[in-house]
Symmetry: C2
Subunit: 161 residues, 2 copies
């Protein structure tokens, strides 16, 4: 893989309680949307390299719950969970997001999938209850993990296209 | 019961995303705290008159979940749920709150119990992701239901004191 292929997401903080993330993928929108919403595809890309993600619950509809268990290479595991507030294929998913290591620290994540023909722009806006909670997420190493995760998704999409 | 006994809570909106509620109870703090955190006492007061509340889950500790099922007099039922972010007896409980009729609309509720001797002041601050969500809660008839609920709690505390 060349350096040009290692794209990074654009992360900005347009307000004091939000994280705005943009990333383009070289695949059509229906396929990118499927990778976010098909339980069989989540283990193929979700989480940084070395992580094996198990879909415990993934009821992709308004009001459905989701819960993923992430197994690290060293055997430790942790879990993430939330509820789908809106699922509008292939355009938008709105869901809550909570890491079980910090229970009750719930954010609201809106993912929008924009059709660019052979490519798709995914914009994710996370809203937090406070600036402190937003900054906690920014300081958690989230950005590096996200870029690895999205590079794994690039590789999956290349296999699927 | 005289009119003087029908106290109402003070509801204010100090910021564009919060609801601030204050209410005094004629009972010592340990007892008031117990009514909020003891699963056996919740069915005695939680919900407007005519509602029978069943505690489905109530794991009162940091990271524990809660879920209450409210049965109306006409047989309909609805549920509420969340996670305890902090439980500090007898001073403070921080928890998420979600009505299952609007899944994903999660608020963060901080209840503070202030010792006034024979009385206790309970302050609850609810934080929402947006003004729109906060105003949705204010427009839901929440205030009337809350005042009935707190009057039921007055009656329970009078029996327990």
């Amino acid at each position: 893989m060349t350096a040009a292929e290692l794209k990074t997401a654009t992360v900005t903080t347009p307000t004091d309680r939000t994280i705005h993330i943009e990333r383009e993928f070289d695949a059509p929108r229906d396929l990118v949307f499927a990778t976010f919403t098909n339980p069989d595809l989540i283990p193929e890309w979700w989480g940084p390299r070395g992580t094996t993600t198990e879909v415990d619950v993934m009821d992709v509809r308004t009001g459905g719950d989701w819960r993923f268990i992430a197994h690290d290479a060293d055997g430790t595991q942790t879990a993430f969970r939330g509820t789908y507030r809106e699922v509008t294929p292939p355009e938008r998913v709105v869901q809550t997001f909570e890491w079980e290591g910090m229970p009750g620290y719930v954010s609201l994540e809106t993912a929008t999938f924009e059709d660019l023909g052979d490519r798709t722009k995914v914009t994710t806006v996370g809203v937090y209850y406070s600036t402190e909670e937003r900054d906690g997420m920014l300081g958690s190493g989230m950005e590096g993990g996200m870029n690895e995760t999205f590079q794994r998704l690039d590789e999956l999409l290349a296999r699927l296209v």
